[in-house]
């Protein structure tokens, strides 16, 4: 579980995050949602420690990352996997070398064990032998995201961060990625935090949702509570799309 308490972050004197507190649970897909420029990515980068929050606490199962020494942060990061918006695969390495990389860097496994683990992770995201020797530039965006997931789970992380995993993907591939993230989260009981503004993704895989608006926490709750909430910010964000307005009207008519 990751708990964020009263986080404040500014850039060049401009405050981006205003006193944000939230809890991200084990075995659940926790989503940070909000319009572009609302501070989602900044919040995620603060939680991971890529940006240093000025005030507050960020507790990884009770361990505050903000009061840790550099070496402790490094050790903690070995429990973290991350899927970047653009996959961030190492383009000089093949698919399997990308997944092998964290294993070679940190694990005490033998060469054969490492290769087996890398193959297992790739097959877990439905990428089989014929793709293993290809370079990232030779595979599609969706496959790159899957390789990035395989790399992220190679060291059995306790925490998984996904920054806009569906950006640049078609709806079908997005669905595949969402399902994978959800399955892996439940299978390994990982604390997963997904940063998204894709409503399909929210309705498909979000278990616990945090809405950020202009750097403030606007709403927090479960997916099921979205349609019943009368929170103004949530209504404006979710029902900006005509499709979701229709869904809400249909559900309202059904109830009548």
């Amino acid at each position: 579980m990751i708990e964020v308490r009263n986080i404040i972050k500014s850039f060049d004197g401009k405050q981006i995050l205003h006193d944000i507190s939230a809890t991200f649970y084990d075995g659940k897909v926790n989503q940070i949602i909000g319009p572009s420029g609302s501070g989602k990515t900044v919040l995620m980068k603060c939680v991971i420690g890529l940006h240093r929050a000025e005030k507050g606490e960020i507790l990884y199962d009770g361990r505050d990352i903000l009061s840790m020494q550099k070496n402790e942060v490094k050790r903690l990061r070995r429990e973290v996997g991350m899927l970047f918006q653009g996959a961030a695969l190492f383009d000089s390495q093949t698919v399997i070398e990308n997944v092998l990389f964290p294993l070679e860097m940190f694990s005490a496994m033998t060469k054969i064990e490492r290769e087996e683990r890398a193959k297992f992770c790739l097959e877990r995201v439905n990428l089989y032998e014929d793709k293993h020797k290809l370079y990232p530039s030779e595979i599609s965006g969706g496959m790159q995201k899957r390789v990035a997931i395989a790399r992220a789970i190679a060291l059995n992380p306790k925490y998984l961060f996904c920054d806009e995993p569906n950006s640049g993907l078609d709806p079908v591939t997005s669905l595949v990625i969402d399902k994978l993230i959800k399955e892996i989260t439940q299978e390994y009981n990982i604390t997963t935090i997904v940063n998204t503004h894709d409503m399909n993704s929210i309705m498909e895989s979000g278990d616990h949702i945090l809405l950020i608006r202009e750097g403030h926490k606007a709403w927090e709750g479960s997916r099921n509570e979205i349609f019943n909430s009368d929170n103004q910010s949530l209504q404006e964000f979710v029902f900006a799309s005509d499709l979701f307005k229709t869904i809400k009207m249909n559900s309202f008519n059904k109830n009548l």
């Binding site: 942060v73 490094k74 050790r75 990061r77 070995r78 973290v80 991350m82 961030a88 990389f101």
Partner: protein, 235 residues
């Protein structure tokens, strides 16, 4: 600060050192053709220019070989070659690291708990610095060979005169001076270019800017260092 992070103890020494020969090939071996072509042609041209433009009968003919040798040892094989390498290698390093920064590959390394500066920059610096003596030797050798070609295949100067000039009043320390300078310059090229690439932010324009800055700044720094090293080693 970046150099402090670059030269700290790596998380996995074997993985980092494994990158050194890779970088040596990429930055050093791949530059051999460029260095060879420029060295030979400049050797030929400089020999011809010296012969054609020194008409004073008091100047012995062997002066040509002597001038070519000392020019190569004192400046060409270190300073001029490194200025050329700053263009090729420096822009290569800056654009590679810059692209890794903007495509979040460096962030990915950091998230894994890897000291990205150490993993990415250390092998580049070591690879280039360790390969510089090879390039200096090659540059000097091929330059003098170019001059020898002029003596052999034209009637501008005899081979005997040229070879006598090459051997006349030879100071072996000049070779050491040349290698030491090249090692320093290799460090400047790799570290300055890495700095600009590593801290590039934005998109393609930022990568291009980092690449340009890397070449310009490392060239200026090398020329300043040339004065300092010459003052320390030759005066």
């Amino acid at each position: 600060m970046l150099m402090g992070r670059t030269f700290t103890r790596p998380e996995n020494r074997k993985m980092v050192w494994k990158q050194v020969p890779v970088e040596m090939v990429k930055l050093g071996t791949d530059s051999i053709i460029l260095v060879a072509i420029i060295s030979i042609f400049m050797g030929v041209i400089m020999t011809m220019q010296v012969v054609l433009n020194t008409e004073n009968p008091l100047l012995p003919r062997y002066t040509t070989g002597l001038m070519l040798r000392d020019t190569y040892l004192l400046e060409f094989s270190s300073t001029i070659m490194c200025l050329l390498l700053a263009g090729k290698v420096g822009s290569n390093i800056a654009s590679e690291l810059g692209s890794m920064r903007v495509s979040e590959q460096i962030d990915a390394l950091e998230i894994m708990g890897i000291n990205s500066a150490n993993y990415l920059i250390f092998p580049k610096i070591m690879g280039l610095v360790l390969f510089m003596p090879v390039l200096v030797t090659l540059c000097t050798g091929l330059g003098l060979l170019g001059g020898m070609g002029v003596a052999k295949f034209t009637s501008l100067i005899t081979v005997d005169n040229f070879v006598y000039g090459l051997q006349y009043a030879f100071i072996p320390f000049y070779f050491t001076y040349s290698v030491v300078k090249a090692v320093f310059f290799g460090f400047i090229i790799a570290s300055v270019s890495s700095y600009y690439g590593y801290f590039a932010s934005g998109g393609a324009i930022a990568v291009g800017k980092a690449s340009t800055n890397a070449v310009v700044k490392s060239s200026i720094l090398m020329l300043l260092m040339d004065i300092v090293l010459t003052d320390i080693m030759l005066t």
